[in-house]
């Protein structure tokens, strides 16, 4: 019987090694797989290359990984935010390399990797600093920049519900990069808020088909965990 569930986040990330290239889902904190990253920090790996939209927010998730000094390079679209202080400090100290990619190109390059495309021509960024040195081509009167796919060894994403075959649905705008990252990594690890039996997800509404997911680990949302802890105390 196929069961992609793993028992713990520690087990889920147990084969991630130093120097790995890892996609991390999320737009700000929405869809950020905090608990998987906590396990990665605990595992102690470093020299990581991270592909994510932002460079961490506040103290949790990717911000905590950067604070711990585990990230050598980050490929992202919007690092500088009001609460990106851990990235800001490391960047200004020259301790972290930044590759800035326009957000749509980031999504398209990740999707291209997942779809097996050798490259894409994107109109975004043509004539700007972010296209400097890149090959361009005019097609039907429009200028495009040649952009290569972004692959990764692992994708760490957060979804709402999942089953033992790895089918996933997401919660609202926490979907963001999850579906394309799941396609682009050799190993996709999804933390899900709720595990459901096979057949419980409406097949017309499955967002990420299980073929793109190798491991799922159930992490009840913090509010549920707090409620569970309270009920335990009451007992």
């Amino acid at each position: 019987m196929i069961d992609k569930r793993v028992r713990s986040t520690v087990e889920a990330v147990s084969d991630i090694v130093d120097g790995a290239k890892i996609m991390v889902g999320g737009f700000g904190t929405a869809g950020m797989p905090d608990e998987l990253i906590d396990a990665l920090i605990e595992r102690g790996v470093s020299d990581l290359t991270i592909i994510s939209n932002n460079a961490g927010n506040g103290e949790t998730g990717l911000a905590a990984l950067i604070k711990a000094g585990r990230v050598r390079k980050i490929i992202c679209s919007f690092p500088r935010q009001t609460d990106s202080h851990h990235f800001d400090t490391r960047y200004r100290a020259g301790e972290i390399e930044l590759e800035l990619v326009p957000q749509g190109n980031l999504a398209a390059r990740i999707q291209a990797a997942g779809a097996g495309l050798g490259a894409i021509f994107s109109p975004t960024g043509f004539g700007t600093l972010l296209a400097q040195g890149k090959e361009t081509r005019e097609i039907d009167g429009i200028n495009y920049v040649l952009e290569y796919p972004l692959h990764a060894d692992f994708a760490l994403i957060k979804a709402h519900r999942g089953d033992r075959w790895g089918n996933l649905i997401y919660n609202k705008t926490a979907r963001n990069f999850g579906p394309v990252m799941a396609m682009a990594a050799k190993t996709t690890i999804a933390q899900i808020s709720e595990f459901v039996p096979l057949g419980a997800l409406d097949p017309e509404s499955v967002v990420t088909p299980g073929i793109f997911v190798q491991r799922v680990v159930e992490i009840a949302p913090a509010s549920d965990r707090a409620a569970a802890a309270r009920s335990v105390t009451l007992e």
Binding site: A30, P79, N171, R175
Partner: protein, 216 residues
């Protein structure tokens, strides 16, 4: 001469958005436009992080941090609204499905070049987000900005000094003093605040300007 407040600018832009269009509002000043869209018009607001049919901010206490806008503030979803992933969201832009995109700017050139992502300050940490995709993707890219910097320099310029976001992509610029159309022959004036003349405007911008054929 009475310059428009930021709220008046937002109301002015909102007046020109027709029923049935798909609109993306950039972060900062453009976000305010949503507050002034006429209630009787159905207008689809798209947010780059993956929703169409974006509604207003939730009542205090009802925030859902999985339901946010491009500025990472909590929002709501209107009945009929939907969610999608990032690649689809940016396909909506690049694919020409978004009718109007409204952005803020550091500078806009008379040829419609836009600079709004980077000041080129050596100490600044660069961040681009969806600005470059939005600038060139929408059918119509509109800018709203104060015409003058705090130092009194025009933000509408002959050619941008800041790093570009997109080339020849802006078609209209709403400011606190005037509305400009950008066409093949450069910038023209579609509207001015009361008490301002074309001569005044040429003096403060340092640009040769004509009246737009779109003057109301």
């Amino acid at each position: 001469m009475k310059r428009l407040t930021r709220d008046q600018m937002a109301a002015r832009v909102a007046r020109d958005i027709p029923e049935g269009v798909y609109v993306n509002l950039g972060i900062g000043l453009p976000t305010k436009v949503a507050d002034y869209l006429p209630k009787e018009r159905e207008i689809f607001l798209q947010s780059e992080n993956g929703l169409l049919g974006m509604g207003p901010a939730p009542a205090p206490g009802n925030e859902d941090w999985d339901l946010i806008n491009a500025g990472k503030q909590p929002v709501t979803l209107l009945p009929g609204g939907c969610y999608f992933h990032h690649a689809d969201s940016f396909a909506m832009m690049r694919g020409g499905h978004i009718d109007i995109c409204i952005l803020g700017a550091f500078q806009v050139s008379v040829h419609g070049d836009l600079a709004n992502w980077h000041t080129a300050d050596a100490n600044a940490i660069p961040a681009v987000g969806g600005a470059m995709d939005l600038a060139i993707g929408a059918k119509r890219t509109i800018v709203m900005m104060e015409l003058l910097t705090r130092q009194g320099e025009s933000r509408l310029v002959k050619s941008c000094a800041y790093p570009l976001t997109g080339l020849a992509c802006v078609s209209r610029v709403y400011t606190d003093l005037a509305v400009f159309d950008i066409g093949p022959n450069g910038a023209s004036v579609a509207e001015m605040v009361e008490g301002l003349t074309l001569d005044d405007l040429q003096n403060i911008t340092g640009l040769p300007l004509s009246l737009s054929c779109n003057v109301a």
